[in-house]
Symmetry: C2
């Protein structure tokens, strides 16, 4: 592509172009961080008012029934299910990815312990998002029964790392830093062939790339609603357990929302039949209600259309950076192969942190990830082709002018 006009032409022809109007996003903002925090659906502010001014203020305690609050984790789970190839009553929206991973890892290790107690290894990648590793470490330390977390440095090492000592492979579908995407079908098959369980983290997949959990016969999954699903800052995560695993499984976070009859107030825990047993405590309803605003936008399109545009956006971004910023030390870390690419593109730069701060100061909002990585997320529901063009032009300016060397871009905040 050689001109901004070509990008504008692509936007005019974009079948998803009209969906941007359903988000509260200023035209002047080039937001390439929807893989970290999605933008607000246009309906979110009104939905919050309804929850507060009608459901809470008028309905008060009655809204647990009358406004469907108590049922919301299951209701939203069913609405989310088609986006990830899950069936009805297999998904609940609840808690956080970290907490949900603890539930699934606990249940999975327990299941494997019954089947084949010598399987004591959880396999994952060192480059996984850290909380996944931290939770596995916490569980292993707590159990104190010789479990081990085995980390590989490269996806190519996974086939050898997963063996007859492996209870479970905990794999993030799309890497948060590089954008590398695993072949979920092939890897699940490999994991099963080795006798292990396949746990998928869909944090950077749900709403970004097509996922077919039941189609690939996966065992468990967790994911995030505040990234590509646009649920709002810190909105509750989701957890998927296929029907075949639900009733055989137990997990230690056995709070009252997972009880089969929570209002009987029985002092003995008896888990719900089905996915309800993956719930634990009372959920934050205002944040949770907003998840539905994001999911409703997805009803107007499908994951295939989203994927087509996602690849077109990341292709264009990579092409433009490599042609228009070729004199600068930018190194693509995201795979060029479509089948291995999620919906973001990352480049290393020796001064990645400072460059990203300078970009943000000019209204191009991506983010920085250690070490040296400039990360740009492309969210087909609201990212325009012209945003890609403008972002690369701004990047070129920042690099050519060395604007990133200004002292104010060197200070690191708590969250970057």
């Amino acid at each position: 592509m050689n001109s901004r006009d070509e990008a504008l032409a692509l936007d005019r022809a974009d079948p998803l172009g009209a969906l941007r109007d359903q988000f509260a996003l200023a035209s002047s903002t080039i937001y390439l961080d929807g893989n970290s925090l999605g933008v607000p659906p246009a309906t979110a502010a009104q939905r919050a008012q309804t929850v507060i001014a009608a459901e809470w203020t008028q309905g008060l305690i009655r809204s647990w029934n009358s406004a469907g609050w108590f049922a919301l984790p299951r209701h939203l789970g069913n609405k989310l299910a088609p986006l990830i190839g899950a069936a009805e009553n297999e998904v609940v929206v609840t808690d956080t990815i970290s907490i949900n991973l603890f539930k699934l890892l606990s249940a999975g290790l327990r299941l494997q312990n019954e089947r084949d107690p010598k399987r004591r290894v959880i396999v994952s990648e060192r480059s996984n998002f850290p909380t996944d590793l931290y939770i596995a470490q916490g569980l292993i330390e707590q159990l104190d029964r010789g479990y081990e977390l085995r980390l590989v440095d490269d996806p190519a090492e996974l086939p050898d790392a997963i063996g007859d000592d492996t209870a479970l492979a905990m794999i993030t579908h799309v890497n948060y830093r590089t954008g590398y995407m695993h072949d979920m079908a092939a890897l699940t098959q490999l994991i099963h062939r080795k006798g292990a369980l396949a746990l998928w983290d869909l944090a950077h997949s749900a709403g970004a790339v097509p996922v077919d959990l039941n189609g690939v016969d996966a065992d468990y999954a967790v994911g995030c609603t505040y990234k590509y699903l646009n649920g709002g800052p810190g909105s509750p995560a989701f957890v998927w357990v296929p029907q075949r695993h639900q009733n055989a499984f137990t997990q230690p976070l056995s709070g009252w929302w997972g009880h089969r009859a929570p209002f009987e107030m029985n002092p003995q825990y008896r888990p719900d039949d089905g996915v309800g047993r993956f719930l634990c405590g009372t959920q934050p309803m205002v944040s949770m209600a907003l998840v539905e605003c994001g999911l409703d936008v997805f009803l107007q399109t499908d994951m295939q259309a989203i994927r087509r545009k996602s690849l077109a956006l990341t292709d264009l971004f990579i092409e433009l950076v490599e042609t228009r910023c070729s004199e600068f030390p930018l190194q693509l870390v995201t795979p060029r192969t479509h089948a291995q690419r999620g919906s973001h593109a990352s480049f290393e730069h020796p001064h990645g942190y400072e460059v990203m701060q300078a970009l943000i100061a000019r209204g191009v909002i991506g983010d920085y990830r250690e070490p040296r990585v400039l990360r740009f997320g492309f969210t087909p529901l609201y990212t325009r082709y012209v945003d890609v063009w403008d972002a690369v032009e701004t990047l070129r300016d920042v690099l050519a002018s060395e604007a990133w060397r200004a002292p104010e871009f060197a200070t690191r905040g708590a969250v970057t």
Copy 2:
């Protein structure tokens, strides 16, 4: 009291009377269920708009720093601390009571295992709110190391039940059903004398009765922000760990928010120094932000003033029910002794469920708890003396007319 006018006179003289205006509560609603879900602070709707339309929409990802989102669990914890006798940097608002109990029980059992491995018993009450018992059961089953949950049927049995085999006593300060309140200082002393740790659940205490965690030298506490603290439906819970216990402790829900440097993305978990290590995953910011609206009201009064009015309200309610409904089979289950009473009053009635539904239909909102208990919560920030009078008159009407026998009041919903 013999007339409604006397109640109105008490309201006019009430030093807390003006605070009701800071809540969005219709004058016609007699809401006696603030011990289950508090009413909205008047500022809550606007605060939600600010979070959504300014912080999320304008600030986008930057608001994790610029709007203080990332710091909010600690900020709110520090604001809540004075209400429960906690110090700075001892409280975080996060997750749910169930999840937080799991953290504390795990940490406590581990600490005791290092000190005295023969201590394998958690003591609690069978009448405790069930989720507390369920979480202890889940942890004990997961650990599978001979731990035991020992339940007593009466508080008087606690001294004998807590012995040299006891690791920890998990006690709810105010019973959710009966309103019975323990003597926290005396019981903590007893627990310590027996060599056990004292874990307090403040679900029905925080914002309702004076609590002095450091004063009584307690070991851990959890509590709720959506009841007397008016944080909103399902708003995140809080967890308290005193300074002396913080750095010796580990808990298995070791998510990235508890890491000492979460954005270094190190694959090895290293807990934060201090209370930060009791955090786990990303928190729901819209729900969490509203917690501050509720806490801000408490800055205008103090727990002693709240306690005085709370006792006056429950005294009046008990007196009026017993004098004006004396011909009906209502049996007080809440202690008459002030020192043993929280901020709600409960009566058993053979048809408690139906009677409560009939009351709710007439605009007197209390709630029902198995078995047979009519539960009425009194929240001094917004409950008026005239509400007490009117509630009892409505109760008398419902009982005298037998309106509760109407078929529509017999059907049980999912949440009551």
